[in-house]
């Protein structure tokens, strides 16, 4: 029953991260506030024209999620490093991947909750009309967030432990996330405008493939990253 023990390790890490986050609160609210601020700035950059705002809503939302997400990912390792908790975490017996999966899940919850607030703000600020196909929109959001969080959690494991981490994490992460961003932005935009060309399903398949490939690849590679 090793998987059961592994699973309880994963749960313990998720629980630890969420409790730390809930007790400090400052982390979540400041990251979310940053996401909302970026949306407001996009609104200024694009001007008050309602149609322009509506067309750019998907792109603005994803970029806001990305910039705010980067901070969340590096925070999730930084709290470990500040008091030397990571070394202790590594000394516990058991597979290393459980640490990664635990971090991944807690980041998913963290970024997911943040996105709920940011999305509601985006719908209001950018005057988005919610289409009848909104369940597919939610599915694309989930797939996109999984892609972002998988690579974000993974790269933050490295970047948070070096000098110049503020620059290095986005520099490593953003070019890698180009397929996720293109797929999520194009699919959401297509759905918001009625998906006349039926392109959303192709993008969804790309997102699923991307998520699977990098989930497996990062799971295999995490041991190299965390022990070095």
């Amino acid at each position: 029953m090793t998987w059961r023990r592994d699973w309880s390790r994963v749960r313990a890490i998720v629980w630890k991260d969420l409790v730390t986050e809930r007790r400090s609160k400052a982390g979540f609210s400041s990251v979310t506030a940053l996401g909302v601020t970026i949306l407001v700035l996009f609104g200024f950059a694009l001007g008050p024209d309602a149609q322009v705002l509506r067309d750019a809503a998907a792109g603005a939302l994803w970029l806001a999620a990305l910039f705010a997400g980067v901070l969340a990912f590096s925070r999730s390792y930084q709290v470990e490093l500040e008091s030397g908790a990571l070394e202790q975490l590594l000394q516990y017996p058991g597979s290393r991947w459980t640490i990664y999966v635990g971090k991944l899940l807690s980041n998913l919850i963290f970024v997911g909750l943040m996105l709920v607030i940011v999305i509601v703000t985006a719908i209001i600020l950018f005057q988005v009309r919610i289409p009848a196909t909104w369940p597919s929109l939610v599915a694309i959001l989930v797939l996109g967030v999984v892609g972002v969080v998988v690579l974000g959690t993974f790269y933050a494991g490295m970047a948070s432990r070096i000098r110049a981490r503020e620059v290095l994490l986005p520099l490593l992460l953003f070019p890698m996330l180009v397929p996720v961003l293109l797929a999520a932005m194009s699919a959401s935009k297509a759905l918001l405008t009625g998906d006349l060309m039926h392109e959303a399903s192709a993008w969804t398949r790309l997102l699923i493939a991307y998520d699977m490939i990098f989930l497996v690849a990062t799971l295999l590679a995490f041991e190299h990253v965390i022990e070095a």
């Binding site: 070019p175 397929p179 194009s186 993008w203 690849a217 590679a221």
Partner: protein
């Protein structure tokens, strides 16, 4: 975790003196290939002599992809065997590949300005080449910022392998993104008069790529063995 760094000074010192000749050969071959290509190919009907830039632009693009394939192979090999040589070779290939990648982009822009009237267009190939460049700039920055050699090797092998895996996905996604919006112009099939020059130059660039990677690798090995020697001296041990 074993880390075979002792094998570094064994950089085929005996054969090293043959490499300058290979360099001379590579550059001579390039000059010759360029001359042949320019002499044998007629001026293009639409582009005139502007077409000649193909003989440097296209080989540069091909060698970029070869270099990044080398990064993938030696990154994976490092993760498998943990030999410092593989790490240094992957890093050398990444550096040279990024240089050729930058060259590809700049040469493409020089061609694009008169041919298309713009320096840049969000075409699938252009955009994915740029993203590739950014991925490997990230790789090289990571190497620059990590001081511990073992950690640097481990991390950059992972980043290099993930980056290389991502290349086809990036290309596919950018192509979809473009084609779903506007029809991409297809390059007209090439006249046989241009093929010989392009092939010769492809080989010339390949030789130069090999020479550059090898020289960079040699320099990296020397640098590492100096660092090892310094460490030994600092520890008060005998220099081996």
């Amino acid at each position: 975790m074993t880390y075979a760094s002792a094998s570094i000074p064994a950089v085929a010192a005996g054969r090293a003196d043959r490499w300058p000749w290979f360099g001379v050969f590579a550059f001579a071959f390039l000059i010759l290939s360029q001359a042949i290509a320019i002499i044998t190919s007629p001026a293009d009907r639409d582009m005139g002599d502007l077409q000649k830039i193909m003989y440097v632009h296209v080989p540069a693009a091909w060698t970029t992809f070869i270099a990044f394939f080398v990064v993938l192979v030696f990154s994976l090999r490092y993760l498998w065997k943990r030999r410092e040589k593989d790490d240094l070779l992957a890093a050398s290939a990444a550096e040279v590949g990024a240089t050729f990648n930058g060259l590809t982009l700049i040469l493409g822009m020089i061609w694009g300005r008169p041919a298309w009237g713009v320096w840049w267009t969000w075409d699938a190939r252009l955009t994915s080449t740029l993203v590739l460049f950014l991925i490997f700039v990230g790789y090289l920055s990571l190497r620059a910022f990590v001081d511990d050699a073992e950690r640097r090797a481990e991390w950059s092998a992972v980043v290099g392998a993930l980056g290389a895996i991502n290349v086809p996905i990036v290309y596919m996604s950018v192509r979809w993104w473009r084609t779903l919006h506007q029809v991409q112009s297809t390059p007209s099939s090439m006249d046989p008069a241009y093929v010989l020059g392009l092939r010769l130059n492809a080989f010339a660039f390949l030789f130069i790529l090999i020479y550059f990677i090898r020289q960079r690798y040699h320099a990296a090995c020397l640098q590492r063995s100096t660092e090892h020697a310094e460490e030994m001296t600092a520890l008060g041990g005998q220099q081996s």
